[in-house]
Structure formats: C-alpha cells, structure tokens
Assembly symmetry: C2
Homo-oligomer: 221 residues x 2
Amino acid sequence: MAGPTVTEDYLKAIWNAREWSDDPVTNSVLASRLGLSPSSVSELVRKLADRGLVTHARYGSVELTDEGRRVALATVRKHRLVETFLVDYLGYDWADVHDEAEVLEHAVSDTFIERLAEKLGHPTHDPHGDPIPTAAGDLPTVAQVPLAQVDEGAVVTVARVSDDDPDLLRHLREVGIDIGTTVTLAARRPAAGVVELTAGDQAVALGLPAAETILTEVAQP
Amino acid sequence: MAGPTVTEDYLKAIWNAREWSDDPVTNSVLASRLGLSPSSVSELVRKLADRGLVTHARYGSVELTDEGRRVALATVRKHRLVETFLVDYLGYDWADVHDEAEVLEHAVSDTFIERLAEKLGHPTHDPHGDPIPTAAGDLPTVAQVPLAQVDEGAVVTVARVSDDDPDLLRHLREVGIDIGTTVTLAARRPAAGVVELTAGDQAVALGLPAAETILTEVAQP
DNA sequence: CTATAGTTTTCGGCATGCCGAACTTCCCAG
DNA sequence: CTGGGAAGTTCGGCATGCCGAAAACTATAG
C-alpha cells in the first residue's frame, strides 16, 4: 500500500474545505488548497476514488465516503491533539504549531495519540479553538458567527481562529485577543474592508478576510 | 533537496553499524541492516557520496564524513529522546518504543526535540541505556562488556540493551532484568550457546546472540 | 598466474506523485 | 442554438527510490 501521507493530506484538505464553506469541492479548489497543480490533483483524486475513499463526478465535485471521512477525521484529531500538546506541554506559541503538526499528524500512531489525549486530559478543543474529533469520529457542532458578520454593538466571545496564518495569530496575541476573549464590535466599515472592535480597553481594526476566519459566540452574561 | 527520511535512515544505519562493531560497513552489510537489496543501497550510497555525506571506495567500505556524522547523530539524538519521552511521559513499555521512534525521528523538528529534551530534564540515556548525543553532537563513551563475555562469577550491572528486539526486551522485563539491575554470571556454557545468570533470586539463561547485545558495567560496590 | 567463487555495481524496469501542455467538457452569453 | 472561455482531464515526461538480472570486479585456491 502507498505511503499514507499523501492520502491523508488530500482527505484532510477535502474535509477542511467543507468545514469552512459549503461550496462544492472541485479539483481546482483542492489544488489551490494543497498548493499543487490541477492535473496532479485530478490524477490523485481518481486514485482515491478507486480506493473507495471519495466519490467524484467527472468534471464535478469531490465528496468523502464514510471511510474517507473516517480517515480525514482521524487525521484532524491527530493534528489538533498534537497542536494542543505543542502549546500545553512544550510551550510553543499558538502561531508556531501549525507546520509542525502538519508533519507530525502523519507520523504518530493511533496508540500514541490516544495516550497523548489521555495525558492532556481529553481536551475538546485545540489552542485555536478548533474542536477535536473524538476517537469515534464525533465532532460537536456549535453555532458560531464570523467576526466579520457580527452586528455593530454586539458583545461576543472569540471561540475559534484559523490556525494557518501565523502572522494573524501573532498579531492577535499582541493585541490581547485569545480564545475566550470578550470583544465588542465597535463598527463595521465595509467600504474600508474593516471591522473595528474593542478588546478590553484596546481598539483593534481587522481586515474583512481576517475577520472572516475568526468565529465568535454570544458572550456569556 | 530530497526528502530527508531516506538520507537519515542510511546515515543512521551506517553510524549504528559502526557503534556495534568495528567491521567495515559495506553496501551489503547496509542492505541487510536496512532490509533492502544491495543494488538499491549501491545506488543511494553513490548519491550520498555525491552530496558529501559519506565517502565510498568503489567495491569497498562506506564511511561517514563529518557532515554525514552530524546528520546521523542528530537523528540518533531524536530517536533516543523520542524513546525516552514515550516511556517516561506516555507510559510505553520499553519493548514497544522502537518502531514508533523510527518514524517520529524523521518528523520532529530541531525546535521540538530541544524543547522536549528540556522538559525531560536533558536525559543522558534512553530507556534501553543507549547514550543520547548532545545537541552539539557529543557522546560519552563508557567501558562496557557484553554479557556474553563476562567472566564466570562476576557481578555486573546491566547498562544497555539493544532496542531492536521487542521479544527479548519483553522477556527481560518478565525475568526482572532492567537497566541498572545487578546480575551475577553463574556459568558460561559455550557448547550449549548459553550463559546462565542470577538476577535477584531468579536464575536466567540467555542465548549467546542475545547476551552479546546486553552490555554491562562493573557493579557498583 | 590463472580460474573461479563471492561480492559489488550497472542496467533496465517499475511504482508513486508531481508538472506543463494539449485536449475535453461544461455552461452561459448572445 | 451556438460559440467560446473557463474548468477539468489526459498525456508525456521527470525525479525518487526500489528491485532482479547481468556484468564487472576482487580475492583466494590451486
């Protein structure tokens, strides 16, 4: 059997694409997410379909099969538990864990990851607020709203930040925004492509693309 | 640059071959250690030589260059620190860590391994008694004698056991032999291919090949 | 000084996974 | 309905790393 690294990367990319948007996942979407050419993706998706991990309508979209989703979620679980370990145990900054976890997720065994989960106290979320699938493949879903779409004047809690932009993560750390931080949406300025908020006593402006990757929940009273 | 996994495996195999014997390392020795065909090894050793990591006399033996040794020792350091982590933190049995470490050694970054070393308290030896090279590439050398060559009646301390035979490691655990255990060499029976010893109050017989992979030091008085 | 047995290298071939170029297919504008 | 441009696929080619078979080399016995 083939080395599973590539397989896991593709399945995870398909799953991640679906997690952040409901648009159908085409081969070119996948290609841009994976940083590969469309022709490469086309070929490998066909192989994944042959192995029963995805379905693929020619010239259409790619969907995970049950088995494909199982593999994808297992990989996501490994990724997020490793990120949690890097921050909680090894003291990494949350901006620096993504690339390391991207490699380690393919290298750790199931035994390793279950023992690690145990030692970490079976965390339900990683340092960026991403939910960690259980070993059985369950994933809690919570209603969350991108910061870019929060109403003016609303008070919300930051629940989740995409882990793949280290510069944004570092910036958020610098302005005091973390998971669980309560922020008030001071103003939306779509014309300027900016939302303004206050975190504690600090005023912060964020561009819309960044504000789209920050998910919030209604603040606890 | 090529994916480093194969490179690291070859360099580590060359280094390991030298650690346990002074015989010259030929391509066929390497092939059998790596579980590959001699032709594959011949080809890859040539590439390593082109990259300046080894020297290779045609039809002769392979030697690490300074740079090759640096890479090999860095990989050995990762392997042994990972094994220590698996036993000390994740609670693995010492028989089960080798294969997992064999994969992880290629996946962890330098940053990861230095933070891990710090958290583990900069251990000098892994769970099998193998010395851990420092980040600078230094390795303490201690006079050790294979159990197979200890004199009858001598009292010695088990200092080191090869990590690549899980069945032997499990057996040793069962008969109460660990790193630091004091044993007495009761009898050598070369004709039978066996050495007999007592560990605590238990009598243990070991075959010569196994006894050759167990290194001992003179027992502390 | 050979003959030859054993070791090492070379050679052709295979599998994986990637790419760019050329070719299909889709689908909407007109 | 049809013409094109965009999206997707196929094709030939490349790099890595592996193998078995055949050729080349070494070293030892006679």
